[in-house]
Symmetry: C2
DNA sequence: CGACATAGTCAAGCTACTTGACCATCCCGT
DNA sequence: ACGGGATGGTCAAGTAGCTTGACTATGTCG
């Protein structure tokens, strides 16, 4: 594998990732959820099961807890989540999704599924599964946030 | 394909992309080029063949020409590129890489090749080619800049 | 019970972008 | 040839999303 081929592969990967995020975001907006940034989606993914504290969210997103707290301010103000007292730790607060937050998370899943279906049309279902398998083995715990 | 599987694939793709960029950046720094952000690498790729104008660079990067101009200021100040008069258009300037800029671009290619070699160890050469083929067909002209 | 650790917030600062305004030069129809 | 709109580039100011630093409240452990 020549260096230039590695660059071509890298560029294709980054282009695909950028395209995916852009189209998911567009799909979420098209479903009626405005003022939502892609980063919010990653937060929703962490909050969805049972809620999370600000600190847990910060770790998940790879940012400081102050930044996570600001993000929570934002999604609370927009009605997607709410701060509740934490059962069993009076210092902490449990951030949970509101009904609208859940609806937005579902919208993001639908949008992602739509994009991936498009890939299936181009590649075929089998190759999409191969793709998923490859990626899962390469970077099972890669960073969610981009560094560029 | 269920929605949750689409999300898993999306997450794997973004994790891989994030990991790739982080490791290329680390590789470039390890080769002695400091103060270089990943965005600079995308600029280098556009400047490498024959140079480019600020406006062309802005289109390539998906930012305003003011932002591209600021980025050029930065890499000029750091010695990676220089502004030259444009042959045939007195309004424009041709931004070209310096020798150090070329060296940095080569370092990025080496770092990328190193990461991709790691993928080859995990997946096998054949599957890496399949991966590259899939990605190239999915988003041949996706955005270079992340939106999240 | 006292000392240190941890959850969260407030405040200020930084960086990489944006929008808006502007000048110099090019191109093209009259 | 020339006048007017398009284009290339820069300067200036504003913004969003992060950072670091300082602080309070609560938990944990010897």
């Amino acid at each position: 594998m020549q260096n230039s081929e590695a660059m071509a592969l890298s560029a294709a990967l980054l282009a695909t990732a950028g395209d995916l995020v852009r189209r998911i975001d567009e799909g979420v907006v098209a479903r009626g959820f405005e003022g939502v940034r892609p980063a919010h989606g990653f937060a929703f993914a962490r909050l969805a099961p049972d809620g999370a504290t600000v600190t847990e969210l910060a770790v998940h997103l790879g940012v400081t807890k102050q930044a996570a707290s600001q993000l929570v301010d934002d999604i609370v103000r927009k009605g997607y989540a709410e701060r509740r007292p934490h059962p069993g730790d009076a210092r902490a607060r449990l951030i949970v999704l509101t009904e609208r937050g859940w609806a937005c998370a579902r919208a993001a899943e639908e949008a992602a599924a739509e994009v991936v279906r498009g890939w299936g049309d181009v590649l075929g279902e089998g190759e999409v599964r191969v793709l998923r398998g490859c990626l899962a083995r390469i970077a099972p715990y890669g960073p969610l946030r981009p560094n560029w």
